[in-house]
Symmetry: C2
Subunit: 236 residues, 2 copies
């Protein structure tokens, strides 16, 4: 394994990297409300994500779980899109983030990777969200880690360095796997190794994103099977 | 389900309840050093557990992961038993807690229980210890929770109440499952429901412990299959 001889832990970003938030949310919103542009609705909900976490990390809000941030954003998006739902419908829709479907390569890729590496999440999603998501789709994590454990949302260094601390290894023994260059850059600034995963349809297949390589990443992969191949985790 | 109509989360104590620390440690010590009473060695190591955590919770020590407490205790036990090991042997033996074997009913019981309940650990073991243990024996947790997440060792209330907080439920929606009445009593004092599991051979089959019922527990179970039966989680 020439690329990463000393990697012990693979830490995975989740939203967009492991699961297809846009596809799942669009499908659920379409069922719930046929008159709304569900693809735009999903994007608007996700667009509120970074600003909401920024309010926590600035100290404007105390520690707030992502479930509660998602609900605050949802209330605004429903107003903006002129959608009226019952309280029960809102509460249930808010939990769509617990039911997001993994990309097709994820389960097989993780099963290959966990034979040689410790695999964990490093997500801003709260612990119960990630646990329910894993149970819903049989995603085989060795450990679920979250910003909730470190009380720090990515890209705060405490989140990235927290993974190394939990596993009692150095930062360079951890590789962050993510579909977002800003997440990877923040991890690299903490001394972690980085692998980029192409997820062109993350924002919706009608608005695919640029998945060009960035040279600073250790690996650039089309999907988790490609990551497993590059890390020499091949099927027996 | 007459007994516990509103239980949503089953939180499991691990050492002694899920895994057989005495049996596994005894076997590894016997292989490593044939002249020592391995059964007594295992009990001496475990006997240092509560006093070591008490030093953390009193503030005498800052937050210290159980791996590091185990190593401090091990050093003393090795001296007391007159056993000399290399540093590498000590480091490897200290990780025996990551390799403890589950009792024979555990995997089947948890697979039944997790069909109807969210299952998690609530252990004083650190996260990597619990993750390695689960991977080693394919223990199917929905979520691994630890004193390390709450920075509070049981029986501190923050550990028990932390489980309810993570899952955004009330304390009475959580049932602690444990083979130790003091752990269950502390959970009950926080409002959790409790289930006792008989593990008579926990301290070694040569020194079986009293497993008499305590009336205050909601359930008294011979093992995890019995727990699943009493909670109406029957095989399909």
């Amino acid at each position: 394994m020439a690329v990463a001889p000393d990697i012990q832990v693979l830490a995975f970003d989740v939203f967009g990297t492991v699961v297809d938030w846009h596809g799942t949310i669009t499908r659920e919103v379409e069922v719930l409300h046929t008159d709304v542009n569900a693809a735009d609705f999903a994007r608007a909900w996700r667009a509120g994500y970074q600003p909401a976490m920024a309010r926590v990390m600035s100290g404007e809000l105390g520690w707030t779980r992502l479930d509660d941030l998602h609900r605050m954003i949802l209330n605004n998006v429903l107003t903006d899109f002129g959608v009226q739902l019952t309280e029960q419908q809102c509460a249930d829709l808010n939990l769509v983030w617990h039911r997001l479907s993994p990309w097709p390569d994820v389960i097989e890729g993780l099963q290959l990777l966990r034979k040689s590496y410790t695999t964990c999440t490093l997500s801003n999603g709260n612990l119960s969200l990630l646990a329910n998501m894993a149970k819903h789709s049989d995603i085989p994590w060795d450990l679920i880690l979250s910003a909730e454990v470190f009380k720090a949302y990515k890209p705060h260094p405490d989140a990235y360095l927290g993974v190394a601390s939990v596993f009692d290894v150095s930062a360079e023994n951890v590789m962050l796997v993510a579909a977002h260059h800003d997440d990877l850059e923040a991890a690299r600034n903490c001394g972690l190794r980085t692998a980029y995963i192409e997820r062109p349809a993350e924002p919706g297949s009608d608005q695919p994103k640029d998945v060009s390589p960035v040279a600073a990443n250790d690996l650039h992969c089309t999907d988790f099977i490609d990551l497993a191949t590059q890390l020499k985790c091949l099927p027996n």
